[in-house]
Subunit: 82 residues, 2 copies
């Protein structure tokens, strides 16, 4: 068994209202020192074996089902066995 | 400038309807080989300097504003400069 992580984040040029809302709330809650916040999604996919075939399949899943490639970027990586 | 990543995932004992929905959709779309999916959130916080004070502050932000500690776990890490 292996775990593959897919991170999906809004593209840098895309407005991110969720991140902006978090960023705007921080000073009101007494936190300063954070200059920007972006919010995205994280998926953990459990697979039998993280071989090349499975990774290629997960890349296709990430680009079609897990992200909207018009407004989001994604990264796929195998989690370190730790 | 440094970037701190906060990953927020549903606790293992908590049902994850979003992850289950993704998992259920995979076979219909022709993907097999994925045995489980969990969906969570990923936050990227831009800070001036990732020193101990800032990291402690981000830990407090993560535990109060970014996650619901009743149903979610979070991890905080400084992103590798790459």
């Amino acid at each position: 068994m292996a775990r593959i992580i897919v991170d999906v984040m809004p593209k840098p040029e895309i407005l991110d209202p969720q991140g902006k809302a978090v960023h705007g709330a921080l000073p009101r809650l007494g936190f300063d020192g954070v200059t920007d916040v972006r919010q995205g999604k994280r998926f953990e996919l459990q697979v039998e074996d993280a071989d090349d075939h499975t990774l290629a399949e997960v890349e296709r899943i990430a680009g079609t089902l897990l992200s909207n490639p018009v407004i989001e970027d994604f990264t796929v990586r195998v989690e370190d066995a730790s």
